[in-house]
């Protein structure tokens, strides 16, 4: 743990970051910026895991490993999402979410 900095400060930072991500996911209409908002959300959850591990259970490593796995899953998710976005762009020439309703029948 860092001397002089309580755990609540970390939690406040990661909470604000999480809800900035949620807000961006709602107000943006572009697929790539929505993907960036999801990355913000995953990153704030990672901070939470690591800080809880370091402050409350410093003799174990559970939070550390969970955030490692979250980083791996985020990489897989981003690669598949970007493949989908590029495919949608080839078909529609546009990647706003309003236009991606052609799969509905």
């Amino acid at each position: 743990m860092i001397q002089g900095i309580p755990i609540e400060h970390f939690l406040v930072v990661s909470t604000i970051m999480f809800f900035i991500g949620v807000c961006g996911f709602i107000i943006r209409r572009n697929l790539i910026t929505m993907l960036m908002a999801v990355e913000l959300i995953l990153n704030s959850v990672n901070i939470n895991f690591v800080v809880f591990n370091r402050y409350l259970y410093p003799d174990q490593l559970q939070g550390h490993f969970f955030s490692l796995f979250i980083v791996g899953i985020a990489a897989a998710e981003a690669s598949v999402a970007i493949a989908l976005i590029i495919n949608i762009y080839r078909k529609l020439k546009n990647i706003d979410v309003e236009n991606v309703n052609e799969l509905k029948f």
């Binding site: 930072v13 999480f18 402050y55 174990q60 796995f69 762009y89």
Partner: protein, 168 residues
């Protein structure tokens, strides 16, 4: 130092979702991820910080910038979001943040006084691949299969479909 990093995180994550140029949004996202790696260094999780730097800042941001360059004109600017959506998004975020803050400050966290485990590569490697207690070999294998599946899926999805026409 902590307050510097958290200030960079908050300001840049706010700018990521409010800027009107998408390439700048990607650069602000890169700043957020770099200062998160700084926080991990301060917490003495060096391996986690290195993974954050290489995978997030090196991999995902480069992937996002590639896709931006493939799908947008560089001078493209977004329209402002309409007012109803803006109010609903900010309202949802504020309500959720208030709930979480109330929960955090009504709970008293007691920092443990146990001796800190030194996190070097030997400890991480043996725990990641051990089948004993505190072993993580099952999620390790699962995530390797997941990464393989994601790689194949990305290739299959993004492949051009010209082959059919040439065969006919």
């Amino acid at each position: 130092m902590f307050y510097l990093f958290s200030g960079i995180i908050l300001i840049c994550s706010l700018l990521t979702i409010t800027t009107r140029r998408i390439l700048r949004a990607a650069v602000y996202l890169l700043c957020v991820l770099l200062s998160t790696a700084g926080l991990y260094f301060m917490l003495k999780y060096q391996f986690m910080a290195a993974v954050q730097l290489t995978l997030y800042a090196g991999g995902i941001v480069v992937l996002i910038i590639f896709s931006i360059l493939l799908t947008h004109h560089i001078t493209h600017r977004f329209k402002h979001p309409d007012l109803v959506k803006l109010i609903m998004g900010v309202g949802a975020a504020l309500v959720g943040a208030g709930l979480v803050f109330a929960t955090i400050f009504s709970n008293s966290f007691q920092p443990a006084s146990v001796q800190e485990l030194p996190v070097d590569m030997t400890v991480i490697g043996t725990q990641l691949l051990s089948t004993e207690k505190n072993g993580y070999v099952l999620p390790f294998e699962l995530i390797s299969i997941l990464l393989l599946a994601a790689m194949i899926a990305a290739i299959v999805i993004a492949k051009k479909e010209k082959n059919k026409n040439t065969e006919i």
